[in-house]
Amino acid sequence: MELRRKLEILADAAKYDASCASSGSHRKRSEGGVGNTEGMGICHSYTPDGRCISLLKLLLTNVCILDCAYCINRRSSSVQRARFKPDEVVRLTMSFYKRNYIEGLFLSSGIIQNADYTMEQLILVAKRLREEEQFGGYIHLKAVPGASAELLREAGKYADRLSANIEMPVQKDLDSLAPEKTIAEVEQAMTDVKFGIDDAKDRSKKDAASPAFARAGQSTQLVVGASESTDTVILTKAEELYKKYSLRRVYYSAFSPADETDKKLQDRKAPLLREHRLYQADWLVRNYGFRANELTDGLKGGDLDLEKDPKLAWALRHRELFPVDVNRASKSLLLRIPGIGTNNVERILKIRRVHRITMADLERLRIVMPRAKWFVTAADRNPGALNVDSLRLDAWTRPKIVQPSLFELTTGQI
């Protein structure tokens, strides 16, 4: 098969993995080599679906021995199959990278023969890039659940990031949709990767020259909407995974049936807005000091409110804490004001040391006033705050529904 056709098939097959992050890794270019990483990821392009292109995202092959109902590459699907030779992926990566199209490679694969063999094939590509091409750019490899701890340790030597996808929050979902998979096996892969990361950190404390291991950490992905599991179940699992395995990110992928989708899932689909609300809640748990159960307690049917963001929804349920005085409140309370993001909380803390903050100051900081004004008081009069207990506040704060981009989702402030 012609290389261009393979690229078409195996990029198409890879697009259901939402992750395209290239941040969190620092590597200097080696003498005579090509590529480095400087911590901040770069989105080199955007497609009309609003997603960024940072990495060359490919499957090594879309041949797969598993039969997961939600996956377009499952063995019973009739999609056309292809398989790259390792050198073809190396060549594509290098020629794209040298033209500044990408930050690096994200390589995944269908399961061929068994988990270990598949993992070996992924490692082979990464090893060639690092050792033969002296490639210093970003590499994200899929950690194949079921692969041996030794192979995952080797993968971590070459990769900046490893990810084992959990796909579903509970075993019951996997039993009905992907009976060959177990949560335990995925979490074992996460355990092995975490061990590698922690071990490398310990060694680097004693010897700065000791080899790095997946320096941009590990992440995972959940498919949303293919199973019955509610947002409450999903967020509870995500929070558990963050704690147990120190994940950098959990990605949520709204399920959308395609032509090749398993018949029993044809009518299942998750609105993109649901995916968005999960990302917002996830962001609040990671950066705003919320616990998952604060955001999910008392939700009707267990799902997040599609009409308002989870922080606003929480504030409306806890009006007794508001309005908050921006000149006096603690940082943790400032972080809970709807419409004020982490950066603006830092600014407010800095400014109020030398200046009494007014409503006009807040406007200039580009705080989202239509949401924030009901919940704050400042040095001057704010009539909005008088209405914090009004029954109509629910309606007044309801925003127009606009879809945000993945970039906003991954970097945006709430």
Binding site: L3, R4, L7, E8, I9, A11, D12, A14, K15, K28, R29, G33, V34, G35, N36, E38, I42, C43, H44, S45, Y46, T47, P48, D49, G50, R51, I53, L56, S95, F96, K98, R99, N100, Y101, A254, S256, P257, A258, K269, A270, P271, L272, L273, R347, K350, I351, R353, V354, H355, I357, D361, L362, R364, L365, V402, Q403, P404, S405, L406, E408
Partner: protein
């Protein structure tokens, strides 16, 4: 009123601002104009006299960024900030909601974003010159960011010869030195590179037609950059073929949910 002519460079502004500050010239008494620098206040000894004021390092870093902004209003703004730092409040920069500070921070933000997009949107094409392969790009930055943005490419691609050509100046790396040259016009853009065929194939295939978020795309990849991005020629057709396409989605971005059924 005093008229001060400076070149479009931080160094030029800095020399002028220093002299003005020593002579306690108030910001509202200055008209800043573009041109060759003329010495305003000759210092008898030829040495730089002491301003009697140490400028906070934070201000210099901020000013160096703001100086890249593509609007001459940056010069009076920077002097006003400097004057107020000395005259009013040495901690002025901490008040990010102050209108002058806020304005300067907005300019810095725009410049930083331009540098980030510079790093993202340069597309190298291989050109052979005297038997040597030179990775050459045509890029159109919005601000005066060529000198600030190009050392990044040396760190990353230091083993490759490259030239980045722009209408705001050019940068060249010969494996040893990064040099800058005069601005060029778009007709100096290098011809297509055969690898772009594969890049466009990738761009088309990684697009997910079940999601359409044009507003988000345009926000992060402004239309003004499209003509220097080879993949942008595909955007119209991808939108049309997308199963979510609706006529008004083009203008406002789709507000509809995923409707593929």
């Amino acid at each position: 009123m005093i008229s001060v002519a400076i070149e479009n460079s931080f160094a030029s502004w800095r020399v002028a601002a220093r002299r003005l500050l020593i002579n306690r010239v108030r910001p509202e008494d200055i008209v800043w104009t573009a041109g060759d620098q003329v010495s305003l206040f000759e210092s008898a000894s030829g040495e730089e006299p002491d301003t009697g004021f140490s400028v906070p390092r934070r201000f210099l870093a901020l000013a160096a960024s703001v100086a890249c902004f593509d609007d001459v209003s940056k010069w009076p703004l920077l002097y006003r900030l400097l004057f107020r730092l000395k005259d009013q409040n040495a901690r002025l920069l901490e008040i990010e909601s102050d209108p002058d500070v806020h304005h300067a921070l907005m300019m810095r933000k725009a410049v930083k974003r331009d540098i980030h997009k510079f790093h993202a949107f340069v597309r190298f094409r291989t050109v052979e010159v005297n038997g040597q392969e030179i990775y050459t790009a045509w890029h159109e930055p919005q601000h005066w960011t060529v000198e600030a943005a190009t050392p990044f490419f040396v760190r990353r691609f230091g083993a490759m010869r490259f030239s980045i050509l722009t209408p705001k100046g050019c940068a060249h790396w010969d494996l040893e030195q990064l040099t800058f040259s005069e601005a060029l016009t778009r007709d100096h853009a290098p011809p297509e590179d055969p690898t772009e065929d594969f890049w466009l194939t990738y761009y088309r295939s990684i697009f997910n037609p079940f999601r359409l978020k044009l507003r988000a795309m345009k926000q992060e990849m402004p239309v003004r950059h499209w003509q220097t991005l080879p993949e942008a020629v595909l955007i119209r057709d991808l939108i049309r073929d997308s199963q979510n396409w609706e006529p008004d989605a083009n203008a406002r971005g789709s507000k509809r949910q995923n409707t593929k059924g």
